[in-house]
Symmetry: C2
Subunit: 243 residues, 2 copies
């Protein structure tokens, strides 16, 4: 079974469970591109360091900087979420996670924080695969998603997790799309999705000290509880992140 | 001329110039929906309080809360930008601007910050005009844009300013679109733009203490200077925000 296959790669029991929960959550939420297909992908990776541990290298009021130190991005984000929940910001905190890849479906992490009553916004970079709309080159930005998680007193956080790409690399890995589908979404307005991808790329790249794929997380204390009213206004319509 | 018309509404010379610079910048950048057409719109507003002044009501390391106190959102954002440039964050700061409307084209404000060597991400809410894709109701989110500004050592910041709407209310005011065009962009993937709009709506609504249209700004010190290399990689391709 999946958990066994992850353990077999040499991860600790705890890390194997973190990875398995992420893949399983993706699968259950219909995000197969970040689901079990990724275990096969992990098995194919060279240079996997299952014993690597991320490190918090800087901590100040309203700011933290982490470094993956060779750990999988999933495990770095899990450690960062644990740290935020253990010591939440007084008001808000920006967390820069250097060398943090792969990060999976970002909705998973902001949901963990929202379940812990923290508001979160998260983005992460990945290999450059998006060229300006209509062009095959130059590829200037990753399929950098943006995820937003908002706690709700009704126990059902709002989780928006948007990729600027029509299909992600995960979709390609999962056999759900071809490489030619990894383009900015939006058809005649694809310049908007491209601008979002490039903007997020530059945001992350400007915040790191060491070049490489990275993640940027904003966590904050909510001052209000808008989700139940939003869900009521939606009537039967599905809100982002609802199952 | 435009500046005279703004002065005639009762604004101080300083405020009139802030407003004029915003409208003029919009016009020059081809964002007519936030340009001179807005002066006529201002003239039509009831309850304009040209003497109102925004107030910083909370200040802590990494966090500020402002309140518009009846001032136009443009002037509140201008005051916030001035304050960030005068006293930049050590690392990062989240700024919540309550009762901050209208805010105009957000690229204008993040560009000001990027010109001052600060990285910025800004969103703002507006009347709910976006319903789930394919539906006319319920309208659950404003056409809440997301703007990202990244300083560049070549003097040309990267400015991405993306609205999740195919056409904005400003386009309607400017006569460039009809109300039926104010829908999430993206065609068959419009659920992504809708999720972004709803996510930003809930993010802002969860951070304010007093319900109402508001803005949320993240400002941070850059640790790297990725834009010149990105521009070089782009070759002749236009980067977001380039004229």
């Amino acid at each position: 079974m999946s958990l066994e296959r992850i353990r077999a790669l040499g991860f600790s029991e705890r890390d194997a469970r973190v990875l398995w929960e992420h893949f399983d959550d993706a699968e259950r939420r219909g995000k197969a591109s970040h689901g079990h297909a990724r275990i096969t992908w992990l098995e194919s990776l060279e240079g996997l360091e299952p014993a690597a541990r991320p490190e918090r290298v800087e901590s100040a009021p309203g700011f933290e900087r982490w470094h993956g130190r060779g750990a999988l991005g999933y495990l770095t984000l899990a450690a960062i979420c644990d740290a935020q929940l253990a010591a939440p910001p007084v008001e808000a905190r920006l967390v820069v996670a250097e060398r943090c890849f792969p990060t999976g479906h970002l909705g998973h992490w902001v949901r963990r924080l929202a379940d812990g009553r923290l508001l979160a916004m998260l983005t992460a970079t990945s290999p450059a695969r998006l060229a300006p709309p209509g062009l095959a080159e130059p590829k200037l930005a990753g399929t950098n998603p943006l995820a937003i998680g908002i706690p709700s007193s009704d126990g059902r956080p709002l989780v928006a997790d948007v990729s600027p790409a029509r299909a992600t690399w995960g979709d390609v890995i999962a056999g759900l799309a071809g490489e030619a589908d990894v383009v900015p979404f939006g058809g005649e307005q694809a310049h908007k999705a491209f601008a979002l991808a490039v903007g997020l790329q530059a945001l992350v790249d400007a915040l790191v000290r060491e070049p490489g794929h990275a993640a940027v997380l904003l966590v904050a204390q909510p001052s209000a509880d808008p989700v139940p009213a939003l869900r009521q206004a939606a009537g039967g319509a599905r809100l982002p992140g609802d199952s």
